[in-house]
């Protein structure tokens, strides 16, 4: 997505935005830089006054989304959990104006999210799911040096405050901008109407801004319910923050068990995702990888499934066809535009290693933290988890689950449609295990100032 910055046509594609970009936090609209470097910091507020003081100090350093398509890095953003809003003394009627799932928190919604078994909150890292994570700060940069500098700025604001750091995790680009399973990721993002920049080819019809940012009309024609008072809700949004551990030993063993040659294994890896590891979509490059296609933002997302109605190129159950079915005929009356999320994937740990095959490799700390951003992030994530990730019924493949981020049951399989008969690949495991998650509210810059000034 660095493409936006690099594109020669960038200035032509920019328009006046219909959104208050100066109010919206940068992370909501700014694409991840390439390469990217950053840090997630999770904080607990131990004193309400100090919590508000932190907002007062931090706010001048939080970037807005103004000119998000060409803005320079680094930047900081901040999200606040329901427990965090309570911890700074947000009045009760205001607290109650937040959606139920947000108030309950991600761990308490495990049933609706299908976070059971391996993904059960009881197996999460110590910091998560206990109502202790009050604030999440994200630092994004295009260089390691700037990452350190901006993180230093964030940390200085904590000086002398009763605010505890619960966890701090650096993340960053792998060689070739790959994730921990070896794929180029983050390619397909929803286009947002009125955000000030032309969609990239294949991004699809722009979606109403109110689906992603509070205070604007959504697809139904009216704004979604907003936390009150208005100053708090407007131009804010929600973030589903999820930490995944990649079990690359299990993933590689699966590829080895079902592919005899390097070429067969790479094709299988591509079938699971719907793209070659280079990012080239199978619909445009069905038989052989095309790295230059994968690297070209003007072409690597410019497709639909009109010529792949039977899933011979991109299997129905592959990751990208699930997460954005585009024009695929679904079994249920579905408006795909209502179920999209802005994704900021942030990979951590050592790069993917194709030769890692052991159980021990499964436990090497590597994976991704995701920020799933939407004005109704909680219900969208629950929908996706129930319908598009941990089920296959919506796309006509029974109980099959997403091969990349699904929670697999014993004996799970993956169907690859093929002539004359489909290939059923058995023994698929949970390749990315959930290790933590929280819901954050990502307020506007005015809302941050308003929060800082509470009880004064």
């Amino acid at each position: 997505m660095s493409s936006v910055n690099e594109s020669a046509a960038a200035s032509e594609a920019a328009h006046e935005s219909m959104l208050d970009l100066h109010e919206i936090q940068a992370t909501v609209l700014r694409p991840r830089p390439a390469p990217y470097f950053g840090t997630h910091v999770l904080l607990r507020i131990d004193d309400a006054n100090h919590g508000r003081e932190l907002f007062r100090r931090l706010t001048p350093h939080i970037d807005s989304a103004a000119a998000w398509w060409s803005a320079k890095t680094p930047w900081l953003s901040v999200g606040i959990s329901y427990a965090g809003l309570k911890a700074v003394g947000l009045p009760e009627d205001s607290l109650q104006s937040f959606p139920e799932a947000f108030r309950e928190g991600m761990a308490a919604r495990a049933r609706q999210l299908g976070d059971t078994g391996l993904n059960d909150p009881k197996n999460w890292d110590a910091a998560y799911g206990k109502g202790e994570v009050h604030i999440g700060v994200q630092a994004f940069s295009d260089s390691e040096e700037d990452r350190r500098r901006i993180l230093g700025v964030a940390r200085e604001q904590l000086n002398g405050l009763s605010v505890s750091i619960l966890a701090m995790q650096d993340f960053g680009a792998q060689p070739g901008d790959r994730n921990s399973l070896g794929y180029k990721d983050g390619i397909d993002q929803p286009a947002i109407e009125g955000s000030g920049f032309d969609p990239l080819p294949g991004q699809g019809e722009p979606i109403k801004a109110g689906e992603f940012i509070l205070g604007y009309p959504g697809e139904a024609g009216f704004p979604l319910p907003m936390p009150q008072p208005d100053i708090l809700g407007r131009n804010g949004t929600y973030v589903g923050f999820r930490k995944y551990q990649s079990r690359i030993g299990a993933f590689n063993r699966f590829l080895q068990a079902h592919g005899n040659t390097e070429a067969e294994r790479e094709l299988l890896a591509a079938k699971l995702v719907g793209r070659w590891r280079s990012g080239a979509p199978l619909v445009l490059a069905p038989d052989l990888d095309n790295p230059s296609l994968g690297a070209d933002p003007q072409r690597n997302n410019d497709f639909n499934y009109a010529n792949d109605l039977r899933g011979r190129q991109a299997p129905f159950g592959c990751h990208i066809r699930r997460m954005n079915p585009r024009d695929t005929k679904l079994t249920r009356l579905t408006d795909v535009k209502l179920h999209r999320l802005i994704r900021r994937g942030t990979t951590y740990g050592p790069p993917y290693d194709p030769n890692a095959l052991s159980d021990t490799d499964d436990e090497v700390a590597r994976g991704a933290y995701f920020l799933f951003i939407s004005a109704k992030a909680m219900s969208t994530i629950e929908f996706l988890q129930q319908e598009w990730i941990n089920d296959g019924n919506f796309i006509g493949i029974g109980d099959e689950r997403d091969p990349i981020i699904g929670l697999q049951e014993e004996g799970a399989a993956f169907t690859i449609p093929k002539d004359p008969v489909r290939r059923l690949v058995r023994g698929i495991e949970t390749f990315n295990v959930l290790r933590g998650g929280e819901y954050f509210f990502m307020p506007s810059l005015s809302a941050l100032k308003w929060l800082a000034g509470l009880h004064q």
């Binding site: 009216f222 249920r332 009356l333 408006d335 319908e387 019924n393």
Partner: protein
């Protein structure tokens, strides 16, 4: 585990006997027909109450779900003339909302029953999954069909109104009993099995 004191539910046979006893007490003041019927089926019942089938769950905010299938029963007062309009609309479609309703992809059945001199309506349906999973999709894609039917309902705010979901919840009554013969077969799965069955038949014909 072994060192922990024994706790939890009583052995199944005791629980079963208790429920049977409870039933007998309940039927003590029933009619003779009712009492006799209870005694006649009590043997079969005792095996069922001691080994209960999979539990009925909630279908989201309201309603009952068994396996993948949920029920929805709504009883609403009708606006003057509402019954006539809705009845005529249904009759024009042969009392059957297909093919429009088939497009939804999760609806197994629907019934519209007018009663109390056309002043009230019972609407009952069964569908796959939770109650509100796809409601936003319906609002986005078939709002006018919903409003066409629901405008006969007294106080219906319009499907695009943010209060529409609350209206439905207020008028819905969760079923106490809910039986589904094949609770794990969704509509999409039934259709897939039909296609598979047909393909197998064709294959068998070819190899003969």
């Amino acid at each position: 585990m072994a060192t922990q004191p024994q706790s939890g539910p009583a052995p199944q046979s005791d629980a079963g006997a208790q429920k049977i006893q409870q039933l007998r007490e309940l039927f003590a003041d029933a009619t003779d027909v009712g009492k006799r019927a209870l005694e006649n089926v009590i043997k079969e019942l005792s095996s069922q109450v001691s080994a209960p089938p999979p539990p009925i769950e909630s279908a989201g905010r309201v309603g009952a779900r068994l396996g993948k299938r949920s029920e929805l029963t709504i009883i609403v007062p009708l606006v003057p003339g509402g019954a006539k309009r809705l009845r005529t609309f249904l009759q024009l479609l042969g009392g059957n909302l297909s093919p429009g309703a088939s497009k939804v992809g999760t609806l197994h059945d629907m019934r519209f029953v007018f009663f109390d001199n056309d002043t009230r309506l019972l609407f009952a349906t069964s569908f796959d999954g939770d109650w509100d999973t796809y409601i936003d999709d319906f609002i986005a894609l078939i709002p006018d069909y919903l409003d066409l039917m629901d405008s006969a309902w007294e106080g219906w705010p319009g499907i695009r109104n943010p209060g529409a979901k609350d209206y439905l919840v207020e008028h819905q009554i969760t079923a106490e009993g809910w039986f589904v013969a094949e609770p794990d077969l969704t509509l999409a799965e039934i259709q897939r099995l039909k296609r598979t069955g047909k393909a197998v038949d064709e294959l068998l014909d070819k190899i003969q």
